[in-house]
């Protein structure tokens, strides 16, 4: 049985080796599809070109994973690169003394007023005292719109009608917030075209008057190629700090997000996913990336292949365990895996009675504990790691000193390791058989 298992593993790795690296031909063939997908998703032409060139550089010569075709391998790289380009999500910056001013800007109809109300709700839920400001004096009934939304949420709205210039309204609102201890002031500005110099100058004036901590571009997920110019111009005039993408509840692929990120580099803060006021969601780069790429089936395939690869690694580990080759270095690696709920721990979960054992073995490891384990193991000699039995009292003292821990800590670690080894024996005898036969 062991033979067949390792045979199988060898076969697997041989296949992997045979597959080799991505050729230029593979890459270019796949990138043609990717380019189409991005353009269809409304990623700007130039941004797409730049992006594809970057992926090409990274992809040529890359290893092809087992169970993926070269084309799928390229898509995997593209997906990763898209996720990187979309960047990490960011929260609203509320550092420093209140009141914090958040200013929403964007084209007509992009969703600013609705988003202002949604944000106010979200911020109140996190313990802030928001004040909404009706700074759109142009669109008919824009003030009433914000007032109605404010009423629905029971959040106050500062408005001064349509005759007072918006920069003055905003300054008054800030003063009111100061006086009445509102902690966040959210400015709902009028929609405007990025090329409307007069109205862009009005935004600059508001910015000068109230020094907003956040200037967020509210952009429609359906925006086309022009997104780059809109974002570039708003960024140039008022210095954006973030992006909120709205109407993500539709079926637009939302490539504008990539375009806007590429020209402004500002983080995406939230996604608007409906007309209701609680329809504001955090942004997950991986979800948005696969939506933009629109190759859901391919991505699922890749995920499966990745899971399979994890299983392979788990099998290698399992084999080592069974053959008694499991040493402290593997142990360290395994602890890290368990910490992020890695594959082996999941495999163990499948064996009756083992999930309990697992929690006993590796109780919630804090970062501090993890660091300690790492420090202890790295203070051991290679020989000690391979064969922990030789670790006697004097070695323990040396290891403790070297790692800045105590002998007690070292003992505890060794005990855990021995327990793990015992567990491995159970794996090979009787109870584990079901598990291993799974891989035949």
């Amino acid at each position: 049985m062991f033979e067949s298992l390792s045979d199988k593993l060898q076969g697997v790795f041989k296949k992997l080796a045979n597959r080799g690296k991505l050729s230029e031909g593979d890459v270019d063939a796949a990138l043609r599809e990717v380019r189409l997908a991005l353009l269809e998703a409304d990623v700007n032409y130039k941004v797409t070109k730049d992006f594809v060139a970057r992926v090409r550089e990274r992809a040529i010569g890359a290893e092809v994973m087992r169970s993926l075709t070269p084309a799928q391998q390229v898509v995997k790289i593209v997906n990763e690169e898209l996720i990187t380009t979309l960047g990490a999500p960011a929260k609203i910056d509320l550092s420093g003394p209140p009141p914090h001013v958040v200013m929403l800007v964007g084209l007509q109809g992009s969703g600013k007023t609705t988003t202002a109300a949604k944000l106010a709700l979200k911020l109140r839920q996190s313990g802030q005292r928001p004040l909404l400001v009706a700074a759109d004096t142009r669109r008919p009934a824009a003030i009433t719109q914000l007032e109605v939304l404010g009423q629905q949420l029971d959040i106050p709205v500062h408005s001064e009608g349509t005759k007072v210039p918006p920069p003055v309204i905003c300054a008054h609102a800030l003063k009111r917030a100061d006086d009445a201890a509102y902690s966040v002031v959210i400015l709902d500005t009028a929609g405007r075209l990025h090329i409307d110099d007069q109205l862009m100058a009005e935004l600059e004036k508001i910015k000068r008057k109230v020094s907003p901590q956040e200037v967020l571009l509210v952009a429609d997920a359906m925006t086309g190629q022009d997104a780059v110019r809109v974002a570039d111009e708003f960024n140039r005039r008022v210095g954006l700090t973030g992006l909120i993408l709205t109407k993500v509840d539709g079926d637009a692929r939302g490539g504008a997000a990539i375009s806007i990120r590429a020209v402004t580099g500002v983080p995406i803060k939230y996604l608007g996913v409906g007309e209701k006021l609680d329809a504001l969601e955090p942004f997950y780069p991986d979800r948005l990336a696969s939506r933009i790429l629109g190759m859901g089936d391919v991505l699922t395939l890749i995920e499966k292949a990745e899971a399979a690869l994890d299983q392979e690694q788990a099998l290698v580990m399992g084999k080592k365990l069974i053959q008694g080759e499991f040493d402290l270095e593997d142990f360290l690696r395994q602890l890290r895996e368990v910490k992020k709920m890695g594959p082996l721990s999941q495999l163990l979960e499948m064996i009756p009675g083992f999930s309990q054992l697992k929690t006993e073995l590796t109780p919630e490891l804090t970062d501090r504990q993890m660091k300690m384990v790492e420090a202890i193991i790295s203070s051991m000699t290679v020989e000690e790691r391979r064969n922990p039995r030789i670790i006697n009292a004097s070695r323990k003292r040396r290891i403790a000193k070297g790692s800045g821990t105590t002998v007690q800590d070292v003992n505890m670690l060794l005990a855990q390791f021995r327990q793990m080894q015992r567990m491995m024996k159970q794996l090979t005898s009787g109870r584990g058989r079901g598990l291993l036969s799974m891989f035949r």
């Binding site: 109809g109 359906m222 086309g224 190629q225 570039d232 109407k247 509840d249």
Partner: protein, 302 residues
């Protein structure tokens, strides 16, 4: 990241001139080369024409150029223009009959420009001696009714409205009744913005249409889909779904005063056969023009 952003934005500055203006430039000076075709493709795609339509256009153009052994870049430009105009002047006929009471239903996704466009149309018809009444069937969005009422006042036409959250079908019914009793010529119905993917909201819209159909002969006589010219490829899906649900008779292309080109209308005309009827060119009441394919295409080349 920063370095890259800067580079892209710089390259954008360089191309800030009208894309089609660049085509003109290109076609005017250069010979017919691979580069020309590539740039042509780039320019069309940047105008939101879409990859599929662009490729079809360019291939057709290449074919014609080869067959007729055209060497003059200026001639290529004329052929392209003609192609583009042909797409927009698609087979769909305008109905010439003018009913006693014309009902125009206005639909579209959220924030595309419906209400403002309705105000512009109201003024257009009023200026031509028609008695116009508006129906505030967007009972959902906050202050949508107030918005339409303000426009009604500015234009000087009546607005039939119920309370917020009222049944939009009932508003349509009342608008038609009022149209009859007040002797109106044109009724324009504002509806709530809705994404074409929302089943319930599209069902609601169908119902609104049915109410109109039941209460006035052959109504609605026009069902206009308002598209935001800034919209990219999703506009095609919008047109498709709204067409299926309420049988769109024409497109109102709003916000054409920005830098977006609205190139997706080529795909909409080509694949769905929906004619473009109007363009919106600003936030004012007079910022409206009847769509003309020649002028639109010519405008792209300016």
């Amino acid at each position: 990241m920063l370095g890259r952003s800067k580079k892209i934005s710089q390259s954008l500055t360089r191309t800030r001139r009208s894309f089609f203006g660049r085509v003109t430039e290109l076609l005017g000076v250069s010979e017919i080369s691979d580069e020309l075709w590539e740039e042509l493709e780039e320019l069309l795609i940047q105008a939101d024409v879409g990859v599929k339509t662009t490729v079809e256009l360019v291939e057709k153009l290449q074919e014609q150029v080869n067959k007729a052994r055209i060497r003059d870049a200026e001639a290529v430009k004329e052929i392209l223009k003609r192609e583009l105009i042909d797409i927009l002047n698609s087979k769909v006929q305008r109905s010439d009959e003018s009913p006693l009471l014309t009902v125009i239903l206005v639909v579209g996704v959220n924030g595309s420009g419906k209400t403002t466009s309705i105000a512009k149309l109201a003024k257009y018809y009023k200026d031509r001696g028609k008695k116009v009444i508006l129906g505030a069937a967007d009972t959902f969005r906050a202050a949508a009714i107030d918005q339409l009422k303000i426009w009604g006042e500015r234009v000087g036409v009546d607005v039939i409205a119920h309370q917020p959250r009222a049944d939009p079908g009932a508003v349509v019914y009342d608008t038609i009744q009022a149209g009859r009793s007040r002797g109106a010529d044109v009724l324009i119905i504002d509806t709530a913005g809705r994404l074409h993917t929302k089943y319930n909201l599209m069902q609601e819209l169908k119902k609104v249409r049915r109410v109109a159909a039941k209460n006035a002969p052959r109504a609605p006589h026009e069902t206009l889909l308002v598209l935001d010219a800034t919209t990219g490829q999703n506009a095609l899906a919008q047109a498709q779904h709204f067409k299926e649900a309420v049988d769109i008779t024409g497109i109102f292309l709003a916000k054409l005063d920005g830098t977006a080109k609205g190139g997706i209308v080529f795909a909409i005309a080509k694949e769905l056969g929906i004619p473009i009827r109007w363009v919106g060119t600003g936030e004012g009441l007079d910022d409206l023009a009847e769509f003309e394919a020649e002028a639109f295409v010519e405008g792209l080349f300016e």
